[in-house]
């Protein structure tokens, strides 16, 4: 009853092309945004903001980045964490070396650095496909982390490449409290997520999907493969790079190249698989799931077994449960959490009738 498009006529091209064509969706998005902008800053305490919500937002952004590449353009990548590292170190160096650099510009420039590196490591995708490409992106993962650790210039010659993020300051206002950092992250993530949603239904997004579904056929109908694939690598890396910059500046404050290791890449990959490949909504759901799962397990296991378990066993149990849940989710819903929402949507449209 509540969720029905009947009577919502599109009388103009503009109305037909809007980003959320269903009125209820628009209301829901508005409510969700209002909740996160106006309510969450006041009800969430420091722990929730700092340890859960900010990382979820940042990982959502990284997951959107990987989703652009893997979900929309169909190029499997295992190097997303490395592109985050490029973004973080890029932003750091612009802040460090350019006096008076505005922080938001540094984020963008960090993202652009990541995009440039992404194009470089995307070049093999013109020749190779599938798992061969995935393994090739591992080269980016290992090489970038090594280079950032090895060459002191990137981290201003600190030991083992650790960088400490500078103060985040916009127009004289310093973002120091978790609440203000949260809002900054939220603004960046909202803007980029909307941009991604728009991009997915634009010419370039449709070209990506054509390449994903069959690249030879896409080429035949006049899509330039090289441009499209490299564009996907650049965009994806840009998103990952900005996510990396936020990771350094609003989440951790101090990062080292080793923090952006293969494990992180895998976690981002899990996010898009569990959330849903090729959807922006799925990136958020997946990120929330993967960030919350270990925290939930941490809190749940002592409740279930009491505090008698030694820490060694708990960490192994976590590994087992984590691995098991991933397999379980893949079996139960291979299209991810976003698919659940789609199914729910279909059901809601027909409710209360079965057909």
């Amino acid at each position: 009853m509540l969720y029905r498009e009947a009577g919502q006529f599109k009388a103009s091209y503009k109305a037909d092309q809007q980003i959320f064509p269903i009125r209820q969706d628009r209301i829901a998005i508005g409510l969700i945004l209002a909740f996160f902008y106006l309510v969450v800053p006041f009800i969430a305490d420091q722990y929730w903001l700092q340890a859960i919500i900010i990382p979820v937002l940042i990982f959502s952004l990284a997951a959107i980045g990987l989703n652009i590449l893997t979900g929309y353009a169909g190029q499997l990548s295992l190097g997303s964490a490395a592109f985050m590292a490029v973004g973080a170190f890029g932003a750091y160096n612009f802040m460090l070396r350019v006096p008076g650099m505005p922080i938001l510009a540094a984020f963008v420039l960090g993202g652009l650095c990541a995009a440039a590196v992404g194009i470089l490591f995307g070049l093999p995708s013109l020749r190779i496909k599938g798992f061969y490409l995935a393994v090739a992106t591992l080269a980016a993962q290992f090489f970038i982390v090594w280079a950032l650790t090895k060459f002191g210039w990137f981290s201003n010659n600190s030991s083992s490449g650790v960088i400490t993020a500078q103060k985040v300051e916009i127009l004289g206002y310093t973002f120091a409290s978790p609440r203000s950092k949260y809002l900054l992250t939220l603004v960046v993530v909202t803007l980029l997520a909307l941009a991604a949603k728009n991009m997915a239904r634009s010419t370039v997004g449709r070209a990506w999907m054509a390449v994903r579904d069959m690249d030879v056929a896409a080429e035949v109908i006049g899509i330039r493969l090289m441009r499209t694939k490299l564009m996907a690598f650049a965009m994806s890396s840009f998103y990952c790079g900005v996510a990396g910059a936020l990771y350094a500046y609003t989440y951790l404050g101090t990062v080292e190249p080793e923090g952006f290791n293969l494990d992180l890449s895998f976690r981002i990959l899990f996010m898009i698989i569990i959330g849903g490949v090729g959807t922006v909504l799925g990136s958020f759901l997946g990120a929330a799931f993967i960030v919350l799962l270990p925290i939930g397990l941490d809190n749940l296991l002592p409740v279930l077994f009491g505090n008698v378990l030694p820490t060694g066993i708990t960490s192994n149990l976590q590994l087992i449960v984590f691995g098991g849940l991933i397999i379980f989710f893949l079996i139960v819903e291979p299209h991810g959490l976003a698919r659940l929402w789609q199914i729910g949507k279909e059901k809601l449209r027909l409710w209360p009738f079965p057909h």
Partner: protein, 297 residues
Amino acid sequence: MNFFFEVLIGGLLSGVMYALVALGFVLIYKASGVFNFAQGAMVFFAALTFVSIMELGVPFWPAFALALASMVVLAVVTERVVLRPLVNQPQITLFMATIGLGFLIEGLAQGMWGAAVHGLEIGIVDEPIAWTMDNWGIGVSTFDLFAAGVSAVLVTVLAVFFNKTRVGRALRAVADDHQAALAIGIPLQSIWRIVWAVAGFVALVAGVMWGARNGVQFALTFVALKALPVLIIGGFESVAGAIVGGLIIGASEKIGEVYVGPLVGGGIEGWFAYMVALLFLLVRPEGLFGEKHIDRV
């Protein structure tokens, strides 16, 4: 020049060790089209089970048999719980499932046997052979030679198994075309069980060799990452490719470490193999021995 040859031979022999791990990947990919990222975890699981059973006072061969039995059980359970429900899913889904499986196996192995580092002594000393040292001035490690011998035997056994036995032929049929194989009455599921069990056996051998060299510890799981460049050079579908790829990676890695490493300040072993593999890929996108991929529109 002697030094160069010593490096080269050392590299080739250590490449054989990579090839051992890569073999496990190839077997599973060939038969089921699954890129099994849990292979590293399987190597760790096998080696840890083996060494823990041995430490209970069981002699070498019975312990080996017990560890092998545990790998077979693992294969059967994996087929039933992971592969069967995921049949007909896209390859990336199966790939993700094997990453999850990897976590599960790692947790299981450490949960059962503890996370301590175990030494493993299989009676082969890791020292240069005196004879080659005296005659050619080239140091060749006994252990490396032994490992090379073991892999040669393993590859021969696998080749015979694949080419001469009934099960082996069925395996190749499944690798060629799942549906055609099903149509002529080859039971897909038991084939998968067998191939995962064989991959478990290969993982056990690789785990014992690597464990004897570096100690049985969690780092064994990263050995799989070393095997990936081997795979992309050799091609995912080729046993011979795994061996040749292993040799190429081993040799170029050692040579790179000695001759290129000092130029950029060392520490290049993490990515050098991948760069070499990338160069090969630019020339041969399916690896040296991979099946040529033909696009039809």
